[in-house]
């Protein structure tokens, strides 16, 4: 045996169908239905929202009380489904006496790789996470960032379709973060489905193609950030526009149906409250072309993950 049998092409990378999970009388996840495709999906929610439960259900550590969790068409709880999943847990635990290289190689072999294939694959992933030259020391002597990279390496070693990363950038220095974000992007470009749970919401802006907002065990919203932002009609989008004739532009914009209000800021910029962003941007483009407004600044000020998160939490009554 040199390498494990190739995993058959999978219909949907991961799927939750009417999934609920109770811990005694406490509900962890409440009637969640979702499909996870390739690309990077961010999982965002306050503490106790059900993020960990969702991750543990997806990685087959927990079984749903109701519904089905499938990975690669198989029940996530089954041993076979684990071939499709790479899991980088948030706990900072290892076989401390082992070297990073030995730990990753051990897990490669437990995933079914033969001795040589495991060694080769270990070197590949250590190189991917930037640890190839530093992986021979005992894990107990590693910095937090190095340990994080080894955790990532073991999650990637069997080349899974679904990669579940729980706080993958915790303790990683800024340069390392950039490298790892680039790695996640490369993996997503290869067609991998990546689910990232992170408390650092600013990271999600740069990282995630889609966001799952979760609160009280329910999915509050899912989609791209722009799609979710557009759904929040009671919170008009705030767009800051810097132009050469701000008062005139303000008057013109107020005539647009998609504009709820305009505020002239002390610096001369306009803060526009927009209800339907698409039609607003079309109208603004029309004004710029037809009436020769010179726009030197255009900034959406509250469409970040953080802002959307707060609006959603507000709506869910979670302050």
């Amino acid at each position: 045996m040199s390498t494990p049998a190739p995993v058959a092409a999978i219909p949907a990378v991961a799927e939750f169908a009417g999934v609920s999970k109770w811990y005694g009388p406490v509900i962890g996840v409440n009637d969640v239905t979702l499909r996870l495709g390739s690309g990077i999906t961010g999982l965002v929610g306050p503490n106790g929202a059900g993020k960990s439960t969702m991750i543990k259900l997806m990685t087959g550590q927990l079984r749903p009380s109701l519904g089905h969790v499938r990975v690669g068409g198989l029940s996530a709880w089954s041993a076979a489904a684990k071939s499709h999943v790479g899991y980088c847990p948030d706990v900072d635990a290892f076989y401390e006496e082992m070297s990073g290289r030995a730990m990753v190689r051990l897990l490669a072999r437990l995933h079914g790789f033969g001795r040589r294939a495991a060694a080769r694959r270990t070197e590949e992933v250590l190189d991917q996470v930037g640890m190839a030259a530093r992986a021979d020391r005992p894990l107990g002597s590693y910095s937090k960032g190095m340990r994080q990279r080894i955790k990532l390496a073991q999650a990637l070693v069997h080349d899974p379709h679904l990669i579940v990363l729980d706080e993958p950038l915790g303790g990683v220095d800024p340069i390392g973060r950039v490298e790892l974000v680039e790695l996640f992007r490369q993996l997503a470009a290869q067609g991998k489905a990546i689910l990232i749970s992170s408390h650092v919401l600013e990271e999600m802006d740069k990282l995630a193609d889609r966001i799952l907002f979760i609160c009280h065990g329910r999915i509050l919203a899912s989609g791209t950030l722009a799609q979710i932002r557009e759904m929040l009609q009671e919170h008009p989008l705030q767009v800051r526009v810097g132009a050469d004739r701000p008062r005139e532009l303000a008057a013109r914009l107020l005539a647009c149906e998609s504009v709820r209000g305009v505020e002239l800021e002390p610096g001369g910029a306009l803060l526009v409250q927009v209800s339907r962003p698409k039609s607003f941007f079309a109208a603004l483009a029309g004004l710029v072309v037809d009436e020769a407004f010179e726009v030197h600044r255009l900034q959406v000020s509250d469409a970040s993950t953080q802002a959307v998160f707060h609006y959603l939490m507000d709506r869910a009554g979670h302050v």
Partner: protein, 252 residues
């Protein structure tokens, strides 16, 4: 089959190596050192006999204390140790079926516990001189089967409880000793009772008193054959129960 055999052997080997380097090994070495001192002191006595060796050393020190302690050290740490260290998640994230993970952990713990119980038995009987030599080989099967039963029992604790070592320690020191010395048939729920029955059965063949200091009317021993069957059945039932629990448990 070969898809799981190789990871099984690897996991068993890694678990064995980690257990050898664990603090449990230090505890076992200390226990053996104290027991060796006791036996060495006993062997300096004049007019000692094999019967006395069984009554004063084998049953109270080895069977009632060392044997369960060696088994407990490695068996309770087997899976509960990985849970406590939070490393079980890595094993359960692999495509290895859970029964294989359990079997590898069990094999490692059993081999090491057996090494200690048989090794300690050899050391103690060697220190006891001719009296020890006389009983070394005949009592080995009792050591083997009771180690298997204890390791199986403590593995059940290990898959069910996070603090399996503490619970196992309390069980071994109090319940086994207490129940194993109760008059009547209550003692038949204790593994140590069947171990004593195996030892006493083997002792009878050596011309030793069958009850070795116990009052026959109170001890009510079963035959060696029955004791062997019971230990085998207990071990099988406990392993099956542990497998069932481990295969279904959510350790997240």
């Amino acid at each position: 089959m070969s898809d799981t055999l190789s990871p099984f052997l690897l996991l068993a080997w890694v678990s064995l190596r980690r257990a050898v380097r664990s603090r449990q090994t230090v505890v076992c070495a200390l226990l053996l050192a104290f027991a060796s001192l006791a036996v060495a002191a006993w062997s300096l006595r004049h007019g000692r006999s094999t019967q006395e060796f069984v009554e004063q050393i084998v049953l109270p020190i080895y069977v009632s204390f060392l044997l369960p302690m060696f088994s407990l050290c490695y068996a309770t740490a087997s899976i509960a140790g990985d849970r406590e260290e939070q490393t079980l998640v890595y094993l359960l994230a692999t495509p290895l079926p859970r029964p294989i993970v359990f079997a590898a952990k069990f094999t490692a713990a059993f081999c090491l516990a057996l090494l200690w119980t048989l090794g300690a038995w050899a050391v103690l009987t060697l220190l006891a001189g001719a009296d020890g030599k006389a009983v070394f080989r005949p009592f080995c099967p009792a050591v083997f089967w009771s180690t298997l039963a204890y390791v199986s029992l403590f593995h059940l604790f290990s898959v069910m409880l996070r603090r399996a070592t503490i619970v196992g320690f309390v069980y071994a020191l109090f319940l086994e000793t207490f129940l194993g010395n109760m008059p009547g048939i209550v003692k038949r729920v204790a593994i140590s009772f069947y171990t004593q029955c195996l030892i006493l059965d083997a002792g009878t063949k050596l011309g030793l008193s069958p009850t070795a200091g116990h009052e026959p009317a109170l001890f009510l021993p079963v035959s060696g054959h029955t004791a062997w069957i019971v230990l085998c059945l207990i071990s099988a039932a406990l392993v099956a129960a542990s497998l069932w629990v481990f295969s279904r448990a959510e350790y997240a």
